[in-house]
């Protein structure tokens, strides 16, 4: 069964420290690499983004992330990999994406993290609606 990926609402900073604390018994780990996506208050045509509302094709997204995760374990010498993504409306400044990789050595943790982040952005059916201060919106597209 795919691992639970989606979190309703923003990712609280405590989730990151809790995840880190859980790895202190794994003394084969030498380095952790963490990526956090934070909602940026971009300006588009003079209007600031106040939030992004995320939806996803959840079952497919979880299967695809599971596949990407397995690819990462094949490619890199990883001890652990954890991935979380928000659904719902996330305010500017809040966290929406948390990718956490651990390995004996920093290189594998770092490269696997980059691989996971880039592949998830490209291959996983998640959709962000950027909401502006005047309540208009536009659909975000990853470049």
């Amino acid at each position: 069964m795919p691992k639970k990926i989606f979190i309703q609402g923003a990712i609280p900073p405590e989730k990151i420290s809790d995840s880190i604390a859980k790895h202190q018994s794994k003394t084969e780990i030498g380095g952790h690499s963490i990526f956090l996506g934070q909602i940026r208050a971009d300006e588009v045509d003079g209007k600031a983004v106040t939030a992004i509302e995320y939806t996803a094709y959840e079952e497919m997204a979880e299967k695809e992330i599971d596949k990407i995760r397995e690819e990462a374990f094949e490619k890199f010498d990883l001890t652990c990999a954890h991935i979380y993504h928000s659904l719902g409306k996330i305010q500017a400044g809040e966290l929406c994406f948390f990718v956490f990789t651990s390995s004996a050595h920093r290189k594998a943790a770092r490269e696997a993290n980059q691989f996971l982040v880039d592949e998830i952005k490209e291959r996983v059916p998640i959709f962000g609606k950027e909401i502006f201060e005047d309540e208009t919106h536009q659909w975000k597209v990853n470049r």
């Binding site: 490209e122 996983v124 059916p125 962000g128």
Partner: protein, 79 residues
């Protein structure tokens, strides 16, 4: 045959729904036909950038089977 259709992102917004079940008389329906059918029904825009997943497999094409789940997916923007 019975096909479940899922709409996401801008497509769901334009269609005014996220899901519907179509009961089709013919047993000879393919992905391309269904896409044309749904896109003209709701006057959906920008079909070039839309990807289709059948039973959660990307880039599917060809004939559909009874019970299939077809999803219309605009460009991804997770992360």
């Amino acid at each position: 045959m019975k096909i479940t259709i899922k709409y996401f992102g801008v497509i769901a917004e334009e269609a005014g729904k996220t899901e519907e079940v179509l009961e089709l008389d013919s047993d000879d329906i393919d992905v391309e036909f269904l896409k044309d059918h749904c896109f003209s029904k709701y006057s959906l825009s920008d079909t070039k950038s839309i990807q289709v997943a059948v039973n959660q497999n990307m880039g599917a094409s060809g004939p559909l089977q009874d019970g299939d789940e077809v999803a219309f997916l605009p460009p991804f923007s997770g992360g």
